[in-house]
């Protein structure tokens, strides 16, 4: 079972890579106006005056190679997701426990959630497909990092992790992190797109030519973050301290992982604040969301690899 999981992991990364190639090809050959229209239609549904809602008949472009490639990309993403799910499930079966007992498994689970959220968004709003390149890129990079620097052979839990809080605390943080991971994609592309719309034509703003309209990206960013923030609050600031109290005797002890969870929480709170403050520009708010994501990465990689703390599942390799 453990070997099967490892093999599935390799295929998962390959499938995401293939999806990425298709998205990139669509990007290169894609028919700009078609995507633009689809995006506008989506946006209109979201709150523009009622008169404009009438869906215009879809003039299917006769031979749109780009769109076909994009659809193949979506199909491959589904395939990759299925393989990814298989990787995580077989890992859990091999270890006889929930598959998030160390850093390797944690990243596998976070990216699985990210992938699921991405597919969910894509199903509800096909117009965001052009973000697929960047979503797949994020997944490939993180999975690659998991395999290269954090791989750990299957092993049972250390006693400190043997608790139902392990299920509650870690799973909610995984859910929140996966959503925030995917939330960072429209956030970054929103910044690119606003730069492009403002006339900037240097890299990376050139990428903005074919992504959905800025307003739509911004709203998607907010929706994802607003959904993930309470989950993260519960997982990191309620369930975590409850477990810490039972296990270590104090609910909060400024262990490095706790410090960085606190920092992420404060930064994401600042994002929601900034977005609700009329005098703060949406681009500024979105930058804050990206800073929040960087702090999450810092907690995942920086703290696990460089700092010594009580969180035993934070160990990369070994143990």
């Amino acid at each position: 079972m453990a070997e099967l999981s490892d093999q599935l992991m390799a295929f998962t990364v390959l499938a995401y890579l293939a999806a990425m190639v298709c998205y990139a090809a669509e990007y290169a050959f894609g028919n700009r106006s078609h995507i633009g229209r689809a995006a506008t239609r989506q946006l209109v549904g979201a709150g523009a005056p009622a008169e404009a809602v009438e869906p215009e008949p879809e003039p299917a472009p006769p031979r749109d190679r780009g769109a076909l490639l994009g659809k193949i990309g979506v199909g491959l993403t589904w395939l990759a997701f299925a393989l990814h799910l298989g990787t995580v499930v077989t890992r859990g079966i091999a270890a006889h426990r929930m598959p998030w007992g160390n850093m390797y498994e944690f990243i596998l689970a976070v990216t699985l959630v990210g992938s699921a959220v991405w597919l969910g968004v894509l199903t509800r709003k096909p117009a965001v497909r052009h973000l697929g390149l960047f979503a797949a890129l994020a997944l490939v990079v993180l999975l690659g990092a998991a395999g290269l620097i954090a791989y750990t052979p299957v092993s049972p839990l250390v006693p400190a992790l043997n608790s139902y809080w392990y299920v509650i605390h870690v799973s909610t943080i995984i859910l929140a992190s996966g959503i925030l991971l995917i939330g960072a994609v429209p956030a970054a592309m929103f910044l690119v797109r606003t730069g492009y719309d403002a006339g900037k034509r240097s890299f990376p703003y050139t990428l903005g030519a074919k992504v959905p309209p800025a307003e739509m990206l911004e709203r998607l960013t907010f929706r994802l973050h607003a959904f993930a923030f309470p989950l993260f609050t519960f997982g990191a600031l309620i369930a975590g301290p409850l477990w810490a109290e039972a296990s270590w005797g104090r609910y909060w002890g400024w262990d490095p992982k706790e410090v960085w969870a606190f920092i992420s929480w404060v930064v994401y709170a600042a994002y929601l604040h900034a977005r609700a403050t009329p005098s703060v520009k949406r681009t500024t708010a979105t930058w804050i969301a990206l800073v929040g994501f960087v702090t999450m990465l810092m907690n995942l990689f920086g703290v696990n690899l460089f700092f010594e703390g009580l969180h035993s599942y934070a160990n990369a390799g070994g143990m």
Partner: protein, 539 residues
Amino acid sequence: MTAVDQRPAPAAEPPPRRPNRAWALLRNSWRQLTSMRTALVLLFLLAVAAIPGSVLPQRAVNAENVAGYFRDHPDLAPVLDRLGGFDVYASPWFASIYLLLFTSLVGCVVPRLLDHARALRTVPPDAPRRLERLPQHAAAEPRPGDPAAVAAAIKAALRGRRFRTVVRERPDGTWTVSAEKGFLKETGNLLFHFALLAVLIGVGFGHWYGWHGNRLLLEGTDVGFCNSLAQYDESSLGPRLGPADLPFFCLRLTDFHATYQSNGQPKTFGADADVQTEQDGPWRPVAFTVNHPLRLSQANVHLLGHGYAPILRFTDRFGQQQTRTVPFLPRDQMLTSEGVVQFPDVNIDPKTGKRDEDLQVAFEGVYLPTVDPAGGATSIFPAEREPALFLTAYRGNLGVDAGLPGSVYALDRGQLANGELKQVSGQRPQRLTVGQSWTLDDGTKLEFLGTRQFATLAVRYDPTQPLVLGGAVLGLLGLMLSLSGHRRRVWFRVTPPAGPEAGGGGSLVEAGGLPRTDYPGFREEFEQVVAAARDERTP
């Protein structure tokens, strides 16, 4: 102030007075402080200020590491220390950021609470003249029933959807229905911010009224401890507590058990103990493990770690015997453990009854629960499969009663350096297995009788934990309401038909909707509301 203030003002403008300017400055600063931009900046500062605490070792987390940092960076460490670098979360600058933030929070949410209370009591405003200008609009449709009855039906439909509604009649025979919903958003938002305050207050009081102690406890019914500061290896009391405030209990560890995987990774830990919670009361058996502390009234006992304590018997030059059980502290996952056993009161000449300071004895070394057959210096398994002690003997002045309390886990290096304490065994440490004895050069003898296990315990109490938890849960609830709610208004105008249909009864119904916060799904809801109002039968 006084009657003077109440005199009618002189006709001429009074010259601006200085106190006014100070007052204006104060008021402006307060306004600045309680603005959302300031809150934003302070939130950022808080996040940045928290970073050093994860980079530098913290005294409250691990004092050993701080000492290590001082050793490795003798120049930098004192400077950082003066800046509070090793106590970041207790430092004045960290405190000033969060206290400013919370002042800002109070200044911000109290007025909002008042506003919100007022908003909850006011009725939704009347419909705007031109409903078609609103973001959502449903064109006028005829329906049977006179306007009053239709308006009542619409009101019932809106009430059913939990809108706050008001029906108004206009002089021209038009009826309007105003409805508003989504106050829970602001309620939730205020709940969230007040809950943050509750959490901060709870944390603060917990610091004042909480206490903790750490204790290493040997297994065995003959050894135990009772809850008092003197019994702890390390402890701290909140500033508002005295030693007499600690609750009474006594505890003895009857059995500690651990199981391991074949690779030595621990599988389970468990402690069985007897506890006495009243003076001279009965002892009652209890069990606790890593994630399940022993919860007593006003004290929780947490199991943090464990190890082995070798039992050693020393026979001195005069045939006198002393037995010691000394905890050796684990230094790796396989429980390679280090320690020292000191015998300061040996070799006392029975004739004089005087202790000879230069004939004190100590043994220092490591204990391996499972010796490496290949001869490695560390244990290869944490359970006692092939246990052995590796000791070096010292004789001389231990320096133990020089006034300074030395460590019980290491020899006084100063005494070794100045030659008052000398190594009296060979270059290689002596290996001892259970039951073996070792005769030193002067005929004295050390016997290794066996080991006992010990557990390291943390005993803690924080009286405000329920408040902090309650605050956090309410805060989460408020947050979810705040983030998922939408404030919106809907208006219906019911007019008696004009023109050809006039006089035939019936009404024309027009509707408009206004989302007052960013609300992408408003169009769907508006359409549903209009449909529900249409389908509601007139009474």
